[in-house]
């Protein structure tokens, strides 16, 4: 009996519950229930204003959140690793716990912090006596951006902290001894070492932001539609499965392509 036989049962299971459904989605996107040609669903999807807007919103939110996470994650990881303070290990542990919570909790919390009757607006109205506070960005794309940066920054920090722990601190001492200031040490010693971890963490966050659903759903904003929201809306709210499958195929293509990139970058970074 060849050894490969034992690999068959799990592959068959995966094919039945995942690959076959996925194939059906692709098939349905090419054969609308209402009849018509193979590419009719795609033509109408690409022609629709809502799809193009959703695609644009998804991409800029994901790119913006990724950049934000990289900058913030790098700064925070630098302090934890190289300017250690009592409790820095507890903070690292807290980050691990943070990762095990669902993303929508962040949006729920932001409602209390920046919502119309939340903490920040309450502080301002208490201080100035104004009728309402100045913060109204939660139901705009900026609210989603803030929530995504908050939730996904730990995903950048974890590989960075792992990379920093392998960095030989003697290099930093030598650079400092030669008269380099902290900013220069960060730029010329730490950053080159951290680049692979940054690339791996950044591309993972980019994929996860493109596919984020909970944060956008909880925001409840009518004018923030991303691709996953569009799929949900088409399939569940409008029962237009062909259109949903068309958008889904586009979303799969973008996401799987980027994920492949992440795997290549991650392999090279050893992460």
């Amino acid at each position: 009996m060849p050894r490969g036989v034992w690999a068959l049962p799990p592959v068959v299971v995966l094919a039945l519950v995942f690959l076959y459904p996925l194939a059906l989605v692709v098939q349905q996107s090419f054969s609308p229930e209402s009849g018509g040609g193979a590419f009719d669903a795609y033509a109408s999807v690409f022609a629709s204003q809502s799809f193009r807007e959703a695609l644009g919103t998804t991409v800029w939110l994901a790119v913006g959140a990724t950049v934000g996470c990289l900058v913030l994650g790098f700064a925070l990881a630098l302090v934890i690793a190289f300017v250690p303070f009592p409790g820095a290990r507890a903070v690292a542990k807290f980050i691990d716990v943070f990762l095990s919570f669902p993303s929508f909790l962040i949006t729920l919390a932001l409602l209390f912090v920046y919502g119309t009757v939340g903490m920040a607006n309450g502080l301002v109205t208490d201080l100035t006596g104004a009728a309402e506070g100045p913060f109204h960005f939660l139901t705009t794309p900026w609210g989603v951006l803030l929530a995504e940066i908050t939730y996904f920054t730990p995903f950048v920090m974890r590989p960075l902290l792992a990379a920093f722990s392998q960095l030989d601190t003697a290099q930093l001492e030598v650079a400092a001894g030669l008269g380099a200031r902290p900013a220069r040490i960060v730029r010329q010693v730490i950053l080159p070492e951290a680049l692979p971890a940054l690339a791996a963490g950044g591309s993972l966050v980019l994929v996860m932001c493109l596919n984020e659903f909970g944060i956008v759903l909880f925001t409840g904003a009518k004018d923030v539609t991303t691709l996953p929201m569009l799929i949900y809306g088409k399939a569940i709210l409008e029962s237009d499965y062909s259109a949903a499958c068309g958008v889904a195929v586009v979303n799969i293509a973008i996401s799987v392509g980027l994920f492949g990139l992440y795997r290549v970058v991650g392999k090279r970074a050893g992460a």
Binding site: R3, W6, A7, P10, L14, V17, F18, Y20, P21, L22, L24, V25, A75, L78, V79, F82, V83, F94, V97, S100, F101, P102, S103, F104, L105, L108, A109, L111, F112, V113, V117, G118, M119, G122, D126, I149, T150, T153, P154, T169, P182, I185, V186, V207, N211, F213, G214, F218, G220, L227, P228, I231, Y232, I236, A244, C245, N251, I252, S255, G260
Partner: protein, 265 residues
């Protein structure tokens, strides 16, 4: 040590605190604070109460909690079985086969969860297998989503496994099944429990795929939190969210204890 001057160090810590506390600590504190209050119309919540928790552990919410627990346990066990089997089988394959298995089992992570939900809904709403409207379609979707993580952490552990143990067992005449059951699996136990904890936490918080296919009588906690906050009962929603976080943390803690006991072997 990157910054040597005392003032520079305090500046770095100050910046860290300014960024870290409001961004990461505040959200969790705020949800906990809100779960104990009835109003939030100023800087701080008001009207301390435990009524939200009383509502969170009865009726619909209690049902959602048990639904979530059953779904998460079932999905984690299924995912662990399939993922471990796949990882063990892949380890015996040659390089190309190994990479193919790896890519196949990582694919569910690359596909958006909403699309996984849509695909499972489309596939199992038609013959030959009709699962639409039952709880098992939710379990199935969760299993698909978390199998990748089980497979990934178990195969990472298999790579680190010292082959000397199984070779020694085999040279002493142990059959492959015996080696697997008495040598490999016990050695893998710490990573198996860690993988189980990860799968459980992911399944407890899963919302995207669940929103696509949950039937009315099988509503997990995240959906319950969404329907509560969508109707405007933010404070009840927070209490349910705290219950969700507490349940996840308790299970993760229990699982990490199993891991420390196993690592003494």
């Amino acid at each position: 040590m990157l910054v040597h001057s005392k003032s520079g160090r305090w500046a770095a810590w100050g910046l860290f605190g300014l960024l870290f506390l409001p961004l990461f600590a505040l959200p969790l504190l705020v949800v906990v604070a809100a779960s104990f209050s009835t109003h939030w119309s100023g800087a701080f919540p008001s009207g301390p109460t435990t009524e939200n928790y009383a509502a969170a552990v009865r009726g619909e919410s209690l049902q959602a909690l048990t639904t979530s627990l059953v779904t998460a346990v079932a999905a984690s066990l299924l995912a662990l079985a399939v993922g471990t089997w796949a990882a063990l089988a892949a380890a015996t394959l040659k390089k190309r086969g190994k990479r193919l298995m790896d890519a196949l089992f990582m694919l569910p992570v690359a596909v958006p969860s909403v699309v996984v939900g849509l695909a499972v809904l489309v596939a199992f709403s038609r013959p030959p297998v009709l699962l639409n409207g039952t709880g098992s379609i939710v379990v199935l979707a969760h299993t698909v989503l978390v199998t990748a993580f089980a497979h990934q952490s178990v195969s990472a552990a298999i790579v680190r496994l010292d082959p000397a143990y199984e070779q020694a067992a085999a040279s002493l005449g142990a059959r492959p099944a015996y080696v697997l059951w008495r040598v490999e699996l016990p050695l893998l136990l710490p990573s198996l429990t860690a993988a189980a904890g990860l799968c459980f936490a992911l399944s407890m918080g899963e919302l995207s795929a669940t929103m696509m296919l949950y039937p009315p009588d099988w509503m997990p906690l995240p959906v319950r939190i969404f329907t509560a906050t969508d109707r405007g009962s933010l404070f009840t929603g927070s209490a349910v969210a705290v219950v969700l976080m507490a349940a996840t943390l308790l299970v993760l803690l229990a699982v990490s204890r199993v891991r420390t006991r196993a690592s003494y072997r």
